[in-house]
């Protein structure tokens, strides 16, 4: 925090000193200092305007301090925090001296609320500068006047879009929306570094506008486009507004299944403000903020946020050698996906396949992936081309002598994996890491064929690679620390959230999914149709229905994995009949990729229908259902308890090193309901005792598949024990 009177004693520059970490967060301390400075500005006659600017590169204010929120014990305490914030920002809004926000870097949550309380906003137009209200992603709402100011600033539809999706808005888009008033282009090198000079320039420009506002040579009133004026006019009509509320509400209901309280609260708070005036609006905003902050959904989402931060760090430290050249074997969906997320981060990437046709398809996939960014204008066509110049598609091992890492994504067959491992080891340099992108084959088994098992590691990506955030890294007993460091570093560079687990059949993610999918099959066999199974599971919070999930994974893959895991874990992975899968494979019902699975998939058809060819199969494997354990809730719990029990077992066996990574893996890799925060968070909030009781109930009917593991029993027996403190 610093005040910087300029030479005319006209402006105060308010900046944050880099005291705590890389980003600015609105903490109690910062708020207090801020209030002091503002009071001084108002008291000092010589000061006629003020500029708010951060001295930290890449961060204006990244949001409220989460620790501050989490330290609160009651809803009232949080409400009080919200009201303090509201008051502070109201004073800025009503300040007789114009206040200009000079924004560079993330301006999110509370940071955006500070910015929109100012009279004018100047932002740098670079990729790091993003504005947004991500509170909803943490189960909260903008609690410092944001719900009230935003609709007035950008219009109701845009405000709802921002607050309900939490999406980041880049500076140029923000200018078009009216969220910022002026843009400053980042500067190149001059007499200082580009970063330093750009911030200085932003400050100069902001000061000029602040002065202009004070002198009345600049008007803060924005010229609005015809469309915007029309929208504003329409939104001023109560019945149009009611219609908007209704539409938005039904959309939110449909998408959240009522599992997330925050979006509905946001709608309610905005509505109150617009219909009943500011005072009512601010009051309900603060109250709702307090209520939301203590919900278990919010705690779950905040837990995920902390987990994500945790999984964006490399606990193995920096690898000895940075991976500059990466080779990917196999240009299938996964291989090409891995190549795409690597090459666009500046890693020189070789994409190798054995057939020209497969290679062409893979290269086209990478091109298409990048080109879609061009269409969305997040990349220029020139940048796309220059990125692609670092991708080498080939059929041979040329250039592998320069590879720092090889990731294989070839067919899931141990013999094929061994073959490529040997071929690769003959051509790569000594330091090169060999990573296998397998979803189930134990890495130690693959490494058995290696001359240098310390350089072998598993990197389990999720499909589609460019969309799914998770990367599961698997180390064996022999994997060296540096190899692990290298793999994590590559994953982080690719933008992934990385969990590191120990080797074992199915590692962590595939292993947890196994029992659940087996249970899905049993449920289907009990006569519940796929649509109903999907409805029950999405109602619980799974983003993808359980039957659809099998279609997405691919029935052949699922069969493969189920067989392997069945062999390894025996009875516990039983339940549904694997022969059902086998018959599906025989009939060609391989899931989405074949156009038929449980459902029929047609290009351009949105509402897919159930595959009638399945009736016969399901009939054939029909088993009687026990009505005691077949209510909707029971079915949900049968699926989830098996998942959670297996996850706990992974922790118990040391596959997982901590519950946090277990939650992240389940949510980001497998779509475990985010509102529950992951299997371990769920065990805590649902109660280990209650969970064990459920397991025992199903155990009585189905047997050992539901036998709770020791770790869960321990937790059940001592209520103070929690996975997350």
């Amino acid at each position: 925090m610093g005040k910087k009177p300029n030479k005319n004693q006209f402006e105060f520059i308010w900046g944050h000193k880099p005291t705590d970490g890389m980003v600015n967060t609105l903490s109690k301390q910062l708020s207090a200092e801020f209030t002091d400075v503002m009071n001084e500005i108002w008291a000092n006659e010589a000061v006629r305007s003020a500029v708010l600017i951060s001295s930290k590169p890449g961060s204006f204010i990244a949001g409220a301090d989460l620790n501050m929120l989490e330290a609160c014990k009651t809803a009232q305490e949080v409400t009080q925090l919200s009201q303090d914030g509201q008051k502070m920002l109201e004073k800025i809004e009503n300040s007789p001296k114009p206040v200009v926000a000079a924004i560079s870097g993330s301006c999110l949550g509370g940071g955006l609320e500070v910015a929109i309380a100012c009279h004018y906003r100047v932002a740098t137009k670079d990729r790091k500068t993003v504005l947004g209200t991500p509170e909803v992603l943490l189960g909260l709402l903008p609690g410092a006047g944001g719900t009230q100011r935003l609709p007035k600033m950008v219009g109701l539809p845009a405000a709802f879009d921002m607050m309900l999706t939490g999406r980041n808005i880049r500076a140029d888009r923000a200018k078009k929306m009216g969220l910022v008033d002026q843009l400053v282009e980042p500067l190149g090198p001059g007499l200082k570094t580009p970063e330093a000079r750009t911030i200085e320039y932003l400050e100069e420009v902001a000061i000029n506008f602040a002065r202009g506002l004070a002198n009345k040579t600049v008007s803060a009133k924005r010229s609005r486009g015809l469309m915007q004026r029309l929208t504003d006019y329409a939104m001023a009509l109560p019945f149009v507004r009611q219609q908007v509320y209704k539409t938005v509400e039904s959309k939110v209901q449909k998408q959240t299944k009522g599992l997330y309280p925050a979006p509905l609260k946001i709608i309610e708070v905005v509505k109150t403000g617009l219909d009943q005036g500011n005072d009512a609006g601010y009051l309900i905003e603060a109250q709702s903020f307090g209520q939301l902050a203590v919900t278990k959904e919010s705690k779950a989402l905040m837990g995920l946020y902390h987990g994500q931060v945790h999984c964006k760090k490399n606990k193995f430290g920096n690898p000895q050698k940075e991976v500059k050249t990466l080779a990917v074997l196999g240009a299938g969906l996964m291989g090409a996906g891995i190549a795409q997320v690597s090459v666009d981060k500046g890693i020189k990437t070789i994409l190798k396949d054995t057939a020209q046709k497969g290679l062409d398809r893979g290269q086209q996939q990478v091109y298409k992936g990048l080109n879609s960014k061009v269409k969305k204008k997040s990349l220029t066509s020139f940048e796309r081309d220059s990125i692609l110049s670092n991708l080498m598609g080939q059929l041979d091992y040329k250039g592998f002598e320069k590879a720092d890492m090889v990731i294989e994504a070839v067919f899931e067959d141990i013999n094929v994996k061994h073959k490529v491992l040997k071929e690769v080891e003959a051509v790569i340099p000594a330091h090169c890491v060999f990573a296998s992108n397998t979803s189930a084959l134990p890495i130690s088994q693959i490494a058995a064929a290696s001359k240098r098992p310390e350089k072998v590691i598993g990197m389990h990506y999720f499909s589609p690679v460019d969309k799914m955030q998770l990367l599961e890294i698997i180390t064996t007993d022999k994997t060296s620390q540096d190899t692990a460091a290298s793999a994590v570093a590559v994953g982080l560079k690719q933008g992934k959230v990385v969990i590191v687990v120990k080797d074992g059949p199915g590692f962590y993610t595939t292993r947890c999914l196994g029992p659940m999918l087996s249970e899905v099959v049993r449920v289907l066999q009990e006569g519940i149709d796929p649509k109903k199974v999907d409805a029950i599971s999405t109602a619980f919070g799974f983003p993808v229905g359980a039957a659809t999930l099998i279609d997405e994974v691919g029935v052949d893959v699922a069969t493969h994995v189920a067989e392997d895991l069945g062999k390894a874990f025996g009875q516990r992975f039983g339940g549904g009949s694997i022969d059902l899968f086998k018959l599906m494979v025989q009939k060609g019902f391989l899931g989405r990729k074949a156009g038929k699975g449980f459902y029929v998939y047609q290009e351009g058809v949105k509402n897919r229908s159930v595959n009638s060819g399945m009736d016969e199969i399901l009939q054939k494997f029909r088993v009687p259902a026990n009505p005691d354990v077949c209510s909707d809730e029971d079915i949900q719990m049968r699926l989830v308890t098996r998942f959670v029990n297996e996850a706990a077992m992974c922790l118990q066996e040391g596959i997982l090193s901590n519950p946090l990574e277990g939650d992240i893996g389940a949510v980001f890799g497998l779509g475990f309901p985010p509102c529950l925060g992951g299997p371990f968070r769920f065990a805590d909030s649902y109660g280990a005792r209650q969970l064990v009781d459920k397991l025992r109930k199903y155990e009585a009917v189905y047997g050992s598949q539901f036998t709770p593991c020791q770790l869960l029993l321990d937790h059940a027996n001592s209520p103070s024990k929690k996975f997350h403190q």
């Binding site: 282009e185 090198p189 001059g190 007499l191 580009p194 000079r197 020139f382």
Partner: protein, 426 residues
Amino acid sequence: AQPKTKKTLGKTGVKNVVVVEGVRIPFLQSGTSYADLMPHDLARAALQGLLTRTSVPRDVVDYIVYGTVIQEVKTSNVAREAALGAGFSDKTPAHTVTMACISSNQAMTTGVGMIAAGQCDVVVAGGVELMSDVPIRHSRKMRKTMLTLNRAKTLGQKLSLISKIRPDYFTPELPAVAEFSTSETMGHSADRLAAAFGVSRLEQDEYALRSHSLAKKAQDEGLLQDVVPFKVPGKDTVTKDNGIRPSSLEQMGKLKPAFVKPYGTVTAANSSFLTDGASAMLIMSEEKALAMGYKPKAYLRDFVYVSQDPKDQLLLGPTYATPKVLEKAGLTLGDIDVFEFHEAFAGQILANLKAMDSDWFAQNYMGRKSKVGAPPLDKFNTWGGSLSLGHPFGATGCRLVITAAHRLKKEGGQYGLVAACAAGGQ
């Protein structure tokens, strides 16, 4: 004057290349007297001016090279069309080069190379630009339809193609004013460059005013001897540049920023304007020139091309090239008597001067131990520059070189240094 580091830059075993003469037709603001002509007309006039001025026999010329930026599609090898039209021998080959604002520099150095390599003895190099008329194309969709239409055989096929034409097909495609790689216009980049080096609006306006005042003075004193009159068909003879307009700081200060709105610093008054014009230069090996009885105006000794980041350092070519060419020639900045730098924007010139005077920039971006230093202004563009005389992209390089030669002669100097920036970051 201080003693020179080197007495001569002549190298043993390498032919001396000399400038015999250089001329240009008056540079005019686009849309004025040359508006109805074609580029090769302007080039032709410059070539004829050169012939008249030097009386060189046309068939002595071994080769002709011309530089141009925005190509008229009908005369893509404008060098050849202009040479034929100007009455040069049809046995003299000609080609056209392009390298943005340094296209005629490229033409001259191509000639230097040919002579040094013993390929030729006499080369005419020049440049031309006609901004009054630029090729505007049909949209890609329309072009595709038209080309397919050519191949359609039956009336049915033709009609079905024509029926697919939509109103948006008629949206024309203007030639890009922006850098292809970055989509940024040059003026915008210049504004950012000025900001990066902390060049103020006032400094820019002052520099632009200096350029116009010096150009006016040079014009009034008859120093711009490279200008040859041009009788434009249907119009009066054009005898002088028409873009020189010394104004006042007050008036210039009223202008709104042209690129970074509303707070930028680059305006129409401190930028070079769209210009029509052409230049031509006769270069020879020294022995040939002497044998033909010419008195050479200057030696062309050394040159260097550089390139850098087209986004943030688009216009910093002179900063990078100056120390390099000095080192190559074995001279220091203090040895140079005459500087002729291309003035694309006042902000660009001032940014370059600051960059050349910065140790920090030299060390962090140029990989040099220390700065080369800024040229003293009393030796710098003292007869005006592109800001005031105009800047027909392809033709400016020859103007810079011949002006340097004339200034050396007039001021009794020995060494001149010419530098220019160009689109593409070169």
